[in-house]
Symmetry: C2
Subunit: 219 residues, 2 copies
DNA sequence: GCTATTCCTTGACAGTCGTCAAGTTTTTCC
DNA sequence: GGAAAAACTTGACGACTGTCAAGGAATAGC
């Protein structure tokens, strides 16, 4: 086996590799593109009424292509759920990073909270839909638990920093803190979709008090 | 028009009425019977995968009968949701009524809370499924909002009495109190179905602390 | 006991679903 | 530019869906 020959094979191999990688990149790009289309369809119709043909119509391809990029419907929806996570989980980080006073953090958080409630309402209702699906179908359960954990961490960063700025400490565990704020969000969302704007406003007015309930101030 | 004639027609009318009422009673009885079968099917499969034929198989009738007693699927499921409410909404009332100390109420509540979590888990996951469906489909929204209100009242009776027994007062609004405890429940249920028993136990251990967070004690 | 009404079953309908194979179009590579 | 591979479309399949009409079985009223 000569050096030249090895060199040639190495070059050929590297080339093949480059091609393969480019193909994989293209493949993955299309996959996520279709996963995003899936996400929007799911957000609009909900899990129960989302069909592959409907998803395809929300993309620029035909329904058959979905089986070219995904093994089956589960595979597709799982990927869509993962896309949701990318969008969702760092929402409050900037507010946390830039706030220098407790009030600033609190007000920024409340504003962002109800901003995303109105802005991304369909996406959020999908999240709750899928989280509930995982109670019936274990397919997404692992992904759901993982995302739920990231949401909990996200909330915990907010409340932890808020307590710090107040010179106090969180009054409850990360878990309780999360479910409380998430519960407020869920409720406000139900009112939002029911067109009950004054109840949403009421939730907004209550949210600062909830935050204060969740931290022990130093006196 | 003679008195006798009027008397005859009155008797006849009353008789007709009695017959009609009996028929209505029978009709309603079958309706609720089928609604209960529907409820169990929904609890087992979830909204997305529940079909009329599946429901009929969980009853002692054939699938055609459902359209004899219900206008359509929506009508049937709406009735099933109402059946859920009958089962669900007075769960803690006895504990509230019989407890004479705060500790007793707290411990009784916690016990009942995790009892029904394990016992009626499938029914509860259905409730959350339907509540979420109402974010996509306004058909059940009114019923959902009504039931949610009753659940909130139920929780409020518990916490109100707990505060009273402690000689304190609730620390948050009825709404915030509800979403907090409901959030704990939802989370525990997700862990329950994920088979994560130690996380459920952890939630149980935390619940008394959550109750105390929700009342201001008198000092 | 006969009749009329109620109750329930059966089978079919039009439509939708996920899946996949066959074939067409587009891109890639030398 | 022509061959090979990838990307995409189309149409069909069996299964399942809600709905409903036709008819049989059970019951009620006289």
């Amino acid at each position: 086996m000569s050096g030249t020959l090895r060199g040639v094979t190495e070059v050929a191999a590297r080339k093949q590799d480059r091609i393969a990688r480019r193909q994989v990149d293209k493949f993955d790009a299309r996959r996520t593109e279709l996963a995003v289309a899936t996400l929007h369809t799911l957000a609009e119709l909900g899990y129960a009424r989302t069909s592959l043909r409907e998803i395809a119509q929300n993309s620029e391809f035909s329904h058959g292509v979905l089986h070219y990029y995904f093994a089956d419907k589960r595979d597709l929806i799982t990927e869509a759920v993962r896309q949701y996570e990318v969008v969702c989980v760092t929402r409050y980080d900037e507010v946390v990073a830039t706030s220098t006073t407790a009030e600033q953090l609190r007000d920024g958080f409340v504003a962002m909270f109800f901003d995303t409630l109105g802005q991304d309402a369909t996406l959020h209702r999908l999240w709750y839909d899928l989280r509930n699906q995982s109670l019936f179908d274990e397919t997404f359960r692992a992904d759901v638990l993982e995302i739920d954990g990231h949401r909990e961490d996200m909330v915990w960063r907010v409340v932890g920093r808020y307590a710090e700025l107040l010179g106090g400490a969180p009054a409850a565990s990360s878990a309780v803190t999360y479910v409380t704020l998430d519960g407020v969000f869920q409720r406000a969302m139900l009112q939002h979709f029911a067109g009950n704007t004054e109840m949403v406003a009421q939730s907004r007015a209550e949210l600062p008090g909830v935050l204060d309930l969740l931290v022990k101030k130093a006196d």
